[in-house]
Amino acid sequence: MDRLTQKIQAGVDAAGARFASPLRSKRLTVVLGRWLGLAFTVCFATGLYSHFLQQPLPWMLFLPRPVWLYQLTQGVHVATGTAAIPLLLFKLWSVYAQLLGWPPIRSVLHALERATIAMLVAASLVELTTGLINTFDWYPWPFPFRTVHYWLAWVIVSSLALHIAVKLPIIREHWSRKPAAVGSGPEPQAQLETGAETVTLPAGAPEHAVSRRALLATVGITSAVAVGTTAGQSFRWLSAVNLFAPRQQDTGPAGVPVNRTAAQAGVSGTALAPGWTVTLTYQGRQRSLTLAQLRAMPQSTGRLPVACVDGWSQDAVWRGVKIVDLMTLMGAPANSDALVHSLEQAGAYGRSLLPAAYSQDPLTLLALELNGAPLDLDHGYPARIMAPGRPGVLQTKWVNRIQVLG
């Protein structure tokens, strides 16, 4: 039995040596871990903002200004998640030798630690992969994306907190560059980590060409390339090098991309029906307005971005009737909440709540025109909501009923 254990140990050590690289060091892991931790924190914060905009808790108050706020936070969310993919891959590479540590389990605590790390690694890989693929509007997995993306994020940041708590002494020890490594010469000793033991190799033994700094430069450049070639879907100044984003700015009807087409929503027939009206209701009163009647009302023009949860966004000029004017028409106070219904009955796009902070904003429109032309069918013809600072999923299209609450 002893001999068998020794044999396994020798085999694992050999495998560990094969994957060993003097580049793998605690210092490298700490530097990469810092970058990745920051990226995850930014993603989590912007993700929470997006989540609670869509599902606010009763006490929460969101403000419509600045109009570009959601465009910025969600653009940053997706760009940071994109940057985190190379960061995660290199961070995991830096600790790969730990995987082959022997014995695999040293104590109950060690087993627990490895289990939480496995959870953190698996959840991070799945979160970033599905997050990226979701922006392609492709869902090749058997679970609801949003639910899993949100709750997995909680598991990840919590596992990360636990991970940092466990590793804090090592993180502190390697937070700053070691004085020995500051000099121009090579580090006197390269340390190989193979699980429990730290194998110390004499200087010069492994002739590895790539220095830690070169690797960190590679990681930085790769992340920059990944973000630079995709963030042009959210940020205009990068749109010239937008090579690999699923969306391009200035494309689509009226130069604005479409998230959900009329065909996908199943409203092509009802939206084009000649008898279309929008029905306003308030305290038992009801009033229906035709498109001609809406066009006869005072029109207001506003420059507002349409900003999708997928990260892409586009500035555009919208023209239509202020929601405040419709409130006044119904005799409702300006600071009323409103529930907006679409011709599309089911799902998240079927209706949206317009809290008072948005409904009374003079920029919030029942939009009839986009960039100087009547709304395209895919942009929500005959009428859609456009409010500042909200995700596109809440800018309900093909509106047929506005229920003023209160």
Binding site: R18, F19, T82, I85, L89, W93, Y96, T116, A118, M119, A122, L125, V126, T130, L132, I133, F136, D137, W138, P140, W141, P142, F143, P144, T147, W151, L152, W154, V155, S158, S159, A161, L162, A165, V166, P169, E173, W175, S176, P179, A209, V210, A214, L215, A217, I221, T222, V225, A226, L243, F244, P246, Q248, T251, P257, V258, N259, T261, A263, Q264
Partner: protein
């Protein structure tokens, strides 16, 4: 903080211990919260699917991706044996950058072929996935190759000049 204050003597300082305890406790509570909500929100087969994806991600990454890069790295070392350390770093960096970008563009290409507008079951939306991503990926590799070649050549020239200057 100065390095002197980070010596092992302070490793067990009350602040550090409290920080670890608080982070650890928050972590455990958060994991339980997130995992609990996943359990309540997902149906059984969705949970099974998620667990499959989690396990598959680890197996693919740890069992395929990293061993492949290790093999490739070993092969590369043999090919670039005659080059200097910085030149090897440049080549390795360009290859890694290209490989990671390929890994990220691959699902984009797959999504484009699955969701092709006009195809039955495809998206009716022509404002998404509307790019020549394959060509662009090839161009990215070309750009990386050019940049790396120029940089390696520049280092070679600069290095040689430096050597002749310092030679007695």
């Amino acid at each position: 903080m100065r390095a002197a204050r980070l010596k092992p003597t302070t490793a067990t300082s009350p602040v550090v211990r409290l920080t670890r305890l608080a982070l650890g406790a928050a972590g455990v509570v958060g994991i339980a919260y997130g995992a609990g909500e996943l359990l309540t929100h997902l149906k059984v087969w969705e949970l099974v699917g998620l667990l499959g994806w989690l396990a598959g991600a680890v197996v693919l990454h740890d069992g395929v991706l990293v061993p492949l890069t290790t093999l490739a790295g070993g092969g590369l070392k043999r090919i670039t044996f005659g080059l200097g350390a910085l030149q090897q770093s440049i080549i390795r960096g360009a290859l890694l950058c290209g490989a990671v970008m390929t890994l990220m563009v691959a699902p984009l290409l797959k999504a484009r072929s699955v969701l092709q507008p006009g195809k039955p079951g495809g998206a009716a939306n022509r404002t998404i996935l509307d790019g020549a991503y394959g060509t662009r990926l090839a161009l990215l590799w070309l750009g990386l190759a050019i940049v790396a070649a120029v940089a390696v050549a520049a280092v070679g020239l600069y290095g040689r000049r430096k050597v002749t200057k310092t030679r007695p």
